[in-house]
Point group: C2
Chain length 459, copies 2
């Protein structure tokens, strides 16, 4: 008998009006409408920790989605990720009201100089006793790049080259600038830090020159837990080299298994262990006391979802304006613009008739939706786990209801079956997930440990 | 009889090992040694609010001070602002544990792209219900600039030109991008925001191109309360145009009066009202139940202050390595390097004998130190107030003791005399200080209100 392998659970949220399940902000029991209010997030973090979630995971974008109907009026009307607030700066509040919950945020290289970013993240890793995770993105929205001095989106592979360079600076600051034992804070001798163990990094590369030293003494994790969500070949290779957790959105366990196996081979190819990268599948849940109740709730949910919003989001993330098309437009008429991958699967899913744009977005949501009784949901999650998935990034319909429901009705069944853990392990987020506080020696960041000690000291 | 004019009080702190009063981190009753621990700051914020402080004010630097003894070994040993943590990212924790306390932080243009900075500050202004203040600095340490891709410090006036450009982007985002009433969040109609009231800013200047729109809906203050501390002619003019509060460190009330009168004239010259800028004098306090006890405590304090640290800090901020000189070196021997302004005053202060380097740093600290019984301190503060000072930025010897002492022993006497307020006014930090939430129309930021409404809408 294999030992039970409990899944990890993160709450997938965004500090915005409407994140993914558009239209639901109007629900009377949806509190996300109060997203400007810090109490909403503090309260949610406390509920998640009381319920046993591993982490709260904040998605983010730094610009408008691509046009719909020739502009972004529609996005503003629907609250489609505008307004949206910064996730990083609210984490210390969540840290101060929780003890175990991991705090994951999203950011990319275009936003902030690496020296400043490194310092802010280290400050937060101290403030949270080592519970910070960073979801590394390369920012794929045209408007986002134009908010940061660029003409538009950099080519995909160039964005990853930039991210590599950014990470290189950060690894030097987080892992190499301060040796272990540099911080003494010895009242008796009056020596705060040992200068022979603190080093400038003298980084010089195409985009960056950073002298150092890092201003923050080593935090509990040093480098925060590294999340990544790239699905392109370059993105997956980047994750295989750097990431410790990958956020995936596979349509089903079988596809996930293939993706995970492939990526684990890439991880090994980079000299890391196959288990150094954990996979979090994005899923949403509709829970009923009977299957019929769950199906009724799902039908009600589909009624309330704003299909135009789903289409705008889908097209806007691809940079395709789908606004000219009604939801009942057959996909055949527009697939030349959007590509037709998955069209066969789509056709099959609608019983052979010609699928429409509305079907496409509905089915995309449905593929990651698990509907049923707590027992049925547990059965399905066992399939995801057995496909190699390590955790679930839980997409909500409403905050906090979607998480409350899972915690109250589903987690007890998952715990009985060894599909969810009972109680928290002590220590940092990385220790809870991997059993150690710092990145292992085989991670590329580790190359900088001690690397600057030989250079000139304190000069 | 003039109405009583109570002073405002801010706690002047830094998220670092040793901020100003070097050596005191070793004191058994000093808790700053725990500065990595978020609880230290949360606890301090709660004490300050319970005691009636207006704000907590975080100083900051983004690099090492200039060399001492040929390097920065000495700084690290003494904890002289290294290690140091970012102040911005801990503010949401303080916001979540307080209701009235203003939250002021320091940052400058070299650290972060203006689009990102604007968004983070707006997020925090929402999270704190309008209690954020920003101390605008131009970063004067060589190493700081080399941490951000520069060869070294930009010329002084060029740094202010950059700050002007940075502010211009921020003002457009904070004041011009969203009209009042744009955010509807109307569940019934399903309209989140009115796109005709949200505008791209299309900013183009020498250093910045920022398309917009701002991603955050207007926060309670829109632009955070603006602090500044420049004392050069260019710095004071910058403050006179932009700042709402200026941090000054005058040696005595008479000097303060002259500085304040001069600066208020500059403020009026820029079309603002003379009271649109408030002046916060930096002061520290030694409180005794008798004058003798206070003097004994001061003597004990001077014993414990690390004079080498004070000299290193003084020289390091001027970019002069004073490490080659003993504390008893006569100033005459080194004044050719450091300039001799104030030397006559200094000579007078040491009864006509030749002052030494140690005297210089001791006297600098003493000039802003108020020593005595609560009644004597109240007398002195009345002099500062009558010179035109609006508030005090309270320098600590130890955290939280220096603030506790003031709150417990001095504030009651100040309240009796109308020198400190009793209880908080409701509303934002700006409303508490000025009686209104937003910048007045005569402030330069106000020029962008409605400025983008005429441009193309949502395109």
């Amino acid at each position: 008998m294999t030992p039970p392998r409990p899944l990890h659970f993160a709450a997938f949220v965004m500090n915005t009006a409407s994140h993914i399940t558009h239209g639901l902000w109007r629900a009377p029991d949806g509190d996300q409408i109060r997203f400007n209010d810090l109490d909403l997030w503090v309260d949610l973090a406390k509920r998640l920790e009381a319920g046993g979630f591993d982490a709260i995971f904040f998605a983010d974008v730094v610009g408008l989605y691509g046009d719909y109907d020739g502009g972004w009026e529609h996005h503003a009307k629907l609250g489609l990720q505008i307004p949206s607030n910064d996730p990083l700066v609210i984490l210390s509040a969540l840290a101060s009201h929780t003890e175990h919950l991991g705090l994951a945020f999203t950011a990319g290289p275009i936003q902030e100089a690496p020296f400043n970013f490194a310092r802010r993240v280290s400050t937060l890793d101290h403030a949270s006793n080592g519970r910070i995770a960073w979801n590394i993105v390369t920012s794929a929205l045209e408007n986002g790049w134009r908010n940061f001095g660029h003409d538009g989106l950099l080519a995909h592979d160039d964005r990853y080259a930039w991210a590599d360079e950014y990470l290189d600076v950060l690894y030097k600051l987080w892992e190499g600038s301060w040796d272990d034992g540099a911080l003494l804070a010895d009242r008796a001798s009056g020596v705060y830090a040992d200068p022979t163990k603190i080093h400038k990094i003298h980084h010089v590369s195409e985009r960056y020159r950073v002298e150092g030293p890092h201003l923050v003494a080593p935090s509990p994790q040093r480098t925060p837990l590294l999340f990544q969500a790239g699905s392109s070949p370059v993105g997956r290779d980047f994750a295989a080299r750097n990431a410790e957790a990958q956020f995936i959105v596979s349509p089903d366990p079988e596809n996930a298994r293939k993706l995970i196996d492939d990526t684990r081979r890439l991880v090994e190819g980079h000299g890391r262990h196959r288990d150094d990268l954990k996979f979090f599948q994005g899923l949403s849940f509709v829970v009923g006391s009977t299957e019929e109740e769950a199906r009724r709730k799902e039908a009600d949910l589909e009624e309330r979802i704003d299909i135009d919003g789903m289409i705008a989001h889908f097209g806007g993330s691809l940079g395709i304006d789908l606004g000219a098309y009604e939801a009942d437009t057959p996909i055949d008429l527009i697939h030349t613009e959007g590509g037709q991958s998955g069209l066969a699967w789509l056709r099959e899913s609608v019983d052979g008739r010609t699928p429409t744009l509305g079907d496409l977005t509905r089915l995309r949501a449905r593929g990651t939706r698990v509907v049923g009784t707590p027992e049925q949901i547990a059965d399905r999650l066992a399939q995801w786990r057995d496909a190699g998935v390590d955790g679930v990034n839980v997409i909500n319909q409403v905050i906090p209801g979607s998480y409350d429901e899972l915690i109250e009705h589903v987690f007890p069944v998952l715990r009985e079956r060894g599909l969810a853990r009972d109680g928290y392990a002590e220590g940092t987020l990385r220790r809870k997930l991997f059993g150690h506080d710092k990145l292992p020696d085989r991670h590329p960041a580790a190359q900088y440990r001690g690397a600057f000690a030989a250079a000139e000291v304190a000069a």
